[in-house]
């Protein structure tokens, strides 16, 4: 079994380069995450930032699978047997998210209770776990933060 020499595709240099790329991508993601906090809810800028983060996430996945897991250096047929089935995810994600979204629209249109729930602001944490007195503080804090936009 003298396979070992054939497999060594990436040297230390490549490992360092990929580590650096992954670190930089993560830092950009985090920076975008911090930046996004100031953006209004349901805004286009927030959506655009989220999409950018997802693209960066896919880039990270590519570098981990391609270089750390060495898939880029394998024979093309083998890459195909792994990557082609994963293409099912394209349908999987599109169909299910579309379905979820359409279910929300349906309920918002035909279910008054569901729609109303989305307009009632909460004053405090629900009573169920009020028994745990220790947690009262963060809840009050949140309650106070909620009250501000009310009036």
């Amino acid at each position: 079994m003298a396979h070992s020499e054939e497999h060594s595709g990436g040297g230390t240099k490549e490992i360092l380069r990929v580590t650096l790329i992954l670190t930089v991508l993560t830092i950009i993601e985090l920076a975008l995450g911090f930046w996004m906090m100031g953006m209004p809810l349901e805004s286009t800028s927030r959506l655009a930032t989220k999409i950018t983060i997802i693209v960066l996430m896919l880039a990270k996945a590519f570098y981990i699978v391609g270089y750390f897991m060495h898939l880029k250096h394998e024979i093309r047929n083998m890459i195909m047997t792994i990557v082609v089935p994963l293409a099912l995810f394209i349908w999987f994600i599109t169909a299910f998210l579309y379905d979820g979204n359409s279910f929300r629209h349906l309920r918002n249109t035909y279910d008054p209770h569901f729609k109303e729930q989305a307009t009632i602001k909460v004053e405090k944490k629900e009573g169920e776990h009020a028994a745990e007195g220790k947690e009262a503080r963060p809840a009050e804090e949140k309650g106070a933060a909620v009250e501000q936009p009310k009036h």
Partner: protein
């Protein structure tokens, strides 16, 4: 078209040249990881579907805003989870170095990098244990959700259910990865691979470990960032 005329012999592969030029175990590890990717994918997509079908969702920056030894009302979103993310990336790098040392038949290098990888995995698990414990003491668990939506409306328990199920499933993968790496370390120290003449087993454990890191990239993005 004319090739069908010669197909009188058995259609089974007769052996000979390995079509993918990888050993059997490694190929099967790839296919296992592919199936595992579908499992995680199903979890994350169901999370996405529920989130898309709900009005409002808790703000991750409000939920995950603390870190160990922090004061009560601290507001430090993304800080602790970015530390966890870097721990996992670095442990993935040390795993690559262990695999590389294995190719070079460098036993010392394998041992050193495997130990570092195991320590990274344990550090990640400790971080996760702390975070779960912290959230539990804030009142979050399967079936209960003390957090409110971003817009101030009441939130459902879907948020905590998905969070604990998916990070728990990932944490269990990290745990089994640590066990596998400890087995690899023991086998290396017992000179098993030295006698075998190759360290290909480390490569398979490495694939699993990188997959765990890969899944965290998705979990981290889906739960903490967006």
């Amino acid at each position: 078209m004319s090739s069908t005329t010669t197909a009188t012999a058995s259609k089974m592969w007769g052996g000979g040249k390995s079509p993918f030029n990888v050993e059997y175990g490694k190929l099967m590890m790839w296919y296992f990881l592919m199936s595992d990717a579908f499992t995680f994918g199903a979890f994350l997509i169901s999370y996405g579907t529920i989130r898309f079908s709900t009005n409002g969702w808790p703000d991750p920056n409000e939920v995950f805003r603390s870190y160990p030894f922090a004061s009560e009302g601290v507001h430090a979103p993304l800080v602790f989870v970015s530390i966890m993310t870097f721990i996992l990336i670095i442990s993935s790098v040390t795993m690559v170095l262990a695999v590389k040392a294995g190719h070079e038949m460098d036993k010392k290098g394998v041992v050193r990098n495997l130990i570092l990888t195991i320590l990274g995995g344990l550090a990640f698990l400790s971080c996760q244990a702390w975070e779960w414990n912290h959230l539990f003491h804030e009142g979050a668990w399967w079936g209960r959700n003390p957090f409110i939506n971003h817009d101030g409306t009441a939130s459902s328990t879907n948020f905590t259910n998905f969070f604990f199920t998916i990070t728990g499933f990932h944490g269990f993968h990290v745990f089994s990865g640590v066990i596998i790496n400890i087995v690899m370390l023991t086998m290396t120290l017992m000179d098993k691979f030295e006698k075998r003449g190759h360290y290909l087993m480390i490569e398979k454990a490495g694939l699993y470990w990188h997959f765990v890191d890969l899944v965290w990239v998705f979990v981290f993005t889906c739960f903490y960032l967006i």
